[in-house]
């Protein structure tokens, strides 16, 4: 890296508002270019995967190469449908936040494949430790939209009793951990969960996701270190969507060649995968899951993708990044790519897709109507007020009892 001799050097993104993005500098390898290693391959021999990019869908929307998971059309359609439904859900919730029906929202536009293909490649009893941008996996696991919405609007049916910010779902019934507002904390917890699974003689594994920005946290290092030491059955995903709020991924990456490369320092496989390629994400996750389940330890996956929308409803990306970045993103839109693949395969059509999109919009509208019938954040009803003193401890100690009474309950 060339450099001057004075002053603090800070990486800058190539494009800022007003610039015309051009991603020619991104080396996007051909689909099918990388071999698929055996599940029990030694991590020492897998280093190239940390610098490459596993891709299955080629420009003609065909699945090629070793990594093609050869999924049935049914499974592919399920994945596509989850992605389309997730997008419809996100759009609706965003709109509702804009009319102040919920306090906050976060979309996953452009990253739907990351979570949904990931979840699809796992067993239902595998435990997910998500960040706030994997709602697709929750939907794919069959969460009822009404339940999800009730949480987001903190109404009387919110299973979290209005305690959590919207989108911080917790669903034990779906093996979905409680999302934390503190970045990265779930990564080493997932390792602990996985270690306990083996301790108990189970073969369920844990899977967690953090963002590119979050890879800088101490908890990232904690997770990778512990996963390597205890050979934990866990899949650790870094979702590199290029941005952390307004901060470009280069601030977390520094001069690193990839986020997956960090795996090498822990002696675990690190695989970089096209995050907008449903089949590739599925295949890599499946490989890592089989490996973990067989007692062969953790895998670090970098899903290379792009955050299509604002970080959350609290920021306006046009203030810090060039307007068309997502449109010009060379890895495309995961929904369009899987859709085209299904159409090329003869398993789907534009018309069916349009119909399905309309159906999702309806479903989401219906769910919304039902949800607000159980209350909204603004007008209630919410959970009973005295619940704010519950679940702090198993039993309410005297000081909380006094405080509850002081509030009149």
């Amino acid at each position: 890296m060339a450099s001057s001799n004075k002053g603090i050097q800070v990486p800058t993104p190539r494009f800022r508002p007003g610039d015309r993005p051009n991603f020619d500098h991104l080396d996007v390898p051909q689909a099918g270019g990388l071999p698929k290693p055996a599940v029990d391959a030694d991590s020492q021999n897998l280093k190239e995967f940390a610098f490459g990019l596993v891709r299955v869908l080629n420009h003609n929307h065909c699945a090629i190469g070793d990594w093609d998971p050869h999924l049935s059309s049914g499974m592919l359609l399920d994945g596509l449908k989850s992605m389309v439904l997730t997008r419809a859900y996100d759009n609706r919730m965003m709109k509702m936040q804009r009319t102040k029906r919920l306090s906050f929202y976060m979309k996953c536009l452009g990253e739907e494949a990351v979570a949904i293909a990931g979840a699809a490649a796992l067993r239902d009893d595998d435990m997910l430790f998500p960040s706030y941008r994997q709602q697709g996996a929750l939907i794919h696991r069959g969460a009822d939209l009404v339940d999800m919405m009730c949480h987001c609007i903190s109404n009387s049916r919110d299973n979290l009793l209005g305690r959590q910010l919207p989108v911080h779902y917790a669903r034990k019934d779906l093996n979905w951990f409680s999302i934390s507002g503190n970045l990265g904390t779930q990564f080493p917890q997932a390792v602990g969960w996985g270690v306990a699974s083996r301790a108990k003689g189970n073969d369920a594994i844990a899977c967690s996701w953090i963002g590119d920005g979050t890879s800088a946290t101490g908890d990232f290092h904690a997770a990778c270190t512990m996963a390597s030491t205890y050979n934990a059955p866990v899949i650790l995903n870094i979702v590199n969507n290029q941005w952390a709020i307004s901060t470009h991924e280069s601030i977390a990456a520094g001069s690193a060649e990839s986020f997956a490369a960090k795996a090498i320092g822990y002696g675990i496989p690190g695989i970089r995968v096209d995050g907008n390629d449903f089949l590739a994400v599925y295949a890599v996750t499946k490989w890592a899951a089989e490996r973990a389940r067989a007692g062969l330890g953790p895998t670090l996956i970098e899903t290379f993708t792009y955050r299509g929308e604002a970080h959350s409803t609290s920021d306006d990306p046009s203030k810090y990044r060039a307007q068309d970045e997502w449109k010009l993103w060379p890895l495309g839109d995961p929904v369009e790519r899987l859709k085209s693949h299904l159409i090329v395969n003869g398993d789907w059509s534009e018309a069916e897709h349009d119909d399905y999109e309309a159906q999702c919009t309806d479903e989401v509208t219906k769910a919304w109507k039902e949800s607000v019938s159980y209350g909204t954040l603004e007008d209630g009803p919410h959970s009973p007020v005295e619940t704010i003193f519950e679940d702090v401890f198993t039993e309410q100690p005297w000081h909380l009892r006094r405080q509850r009474q002081a509030l009149g309950y």
């Binding site: 002053g7 603090i8 050097q9 800070v10 800058t12 800022r16 306090s103 906050f104 903190s154 919110d158 009793l161 209005g162 305690r163 959590q164 910010l165 919207p166 911080h168 934390s180 507002g181 503190n182 970045l183 990265g184 920005g213 979050t214 800088a216 946290t217 101490g218 908890d219 952390a244 709020i245 307004s246 901060t247 470009h248 601030i251 977390a252 520094g254 609290s314 920021d315 203030k319 810090y320 954040l377 919410h382 959970s383 007020v385 619940t387 704010i388 003193f389 702090v392 000081h399 909380l400 405080q403 509030l407």
Partner: protein, 338 residues
């Protein structure tokens, strides 16, 4: 003089010091090009360059350690922690390192670092965007802890912090960024334009560390607080028609013990207020010290009005926040105690 919000006043303080003093740098998550998620550093990178005002990776421990290393090498870094709730990955660097470096090196090394961080509830931020964790820092020897309640103080206090040779934890009550707030979410938000402390001199001035502000003189009861709660106290006393003496500590450590003691000796009654949980909150320290120093003047026990000992709940934010009606009720009880 100009009318400024607290955000503008803080921005102005930073701008001034970045201009004055080449050893000042400001950094943190989203602090650079974007200007911070609340806009406190807006425009500063453009004006002072990306070598002075810049983004950092998401690692609060690293941010604080970096700042300390820079300070040890003669700089005066101002680090932003995006929300006070996220300061804890840096807690060890603050407690074990920043606060002790002067002591453990017997004065050879010092760390004039200012850590700015927005705190407090009132914006439906849920349990991870609402904390008021000041008490933790008051139990760490070697840290100055401050919290302004208005734009005028914010600027003068931040300049004092940046010019001080000790590390400062500088809490900014985010609910006050854009206007005063009396604790009632149903009253339309007011703005700093109409508030006398929204008038801010454009040049350099300081508000001294360790000096409280008596916002209102009174003889019935002393109310001691800082940040958002002083506005709540003012409004509650007003509405309850109680002649309260209201003290804005501004500096929490080392606080203005004389202002507090003199007042309580005069009024014989005291309410301490904060938004943080009650147990082991800074109100406990104030109460313990007041009952020690003013025991023979007290006509009633010192009363604490605080947040509850629970995480800050999202939907029931206004049942958690120690708002006007709770303070008024406390005033009533307090004045009825004989």
């Amino acid at each position: 003089m100009a009318s400024m919000t607290m955000i503008q006043a803080l921005n102005n303080a930073l701008d001034l010091k970045l201009t004055d003093d080449p050893s000042v740098v400001a950094f943190g998550e989203d602090v650079g090009y974007f200007g911070g998620v609340f806009g406190v550093t807006k425009g500063l990178q453009e004006k002072h360059g990306s070598g002075r005002v810049y983004d950092s990776p998401i690692n609060e421990g690293a941010i604080i350690a970096m700042a300390m290393g820079m300070a040890v090498n003669g700089m005066r870094p101002v680090a932003e922690i995006q929300f006070a709730d996220y300061i804890f990955p840096g807690f060890d660097q603050i407690l074990s390192e920043l606060s002790r470096i002067r002591y453990r090196s017997a004065g050879q090394y010092t760390a004039p670092v200012t850590i700015r961080t927005p705190c407090g509830g009132g914006i439906y931020g849920g349990q991870t965007h609402s904390m008021s964790p000041e008490a933790f820092f008051t139990h760490i020897p070697g840290l100055i802890v401050m919290m302004p309640s208005n734009p005028y103080d914010a600027k003068g206090m931040l300049i004092s912090a940046m010019e001080n040779d000790d590390p400062v934890i500088f809490f900014e009550p985010k609910r006050l960024y854009n206007g005063p707030f009396t604790g009632d979410p149903h009253v339309p938000a007011s703005s700093w334009t109409k508030h006398p402390k929204g008038e801010v001199p454009e040049g350099h001035y300081t508000v001294p560390i360790g000096k409280a502000d008596i916002l209102r003189e009174g003889s019935d009861v002393t109310m001691v607080g800082y940040g958002t709660m002083v506005h709540v106290a003012l409004a509650a006393a007003e509405e309850a028609g109680v002649d309260a003496e209201i003290i804005d500590l501004r500096t929490i450590i080392p606080y203005d013990v004389d202002a507090v003691t003199n007042s309580v000796k005069k009024t014989g009654r005291c309410i301490v207020l904060h938004e943080a949980p009650r147990t082991s909150g800074f109100g406990a320290e104030l109460t313990a010290q007041i009952q020690e120093d003013c025991f023979y003047s007290l006509e009633a026990p010192v009363m604490r009005i605080t947040g509850w000992d629970t995480p800050y709940p999202h939907a029931h934010e206004w049942s958690y926040f120690p708002g006007k009606s709770r303070v008024m009720q406390a005033l009533k009880t307090m004045m009825e105690t004989v």
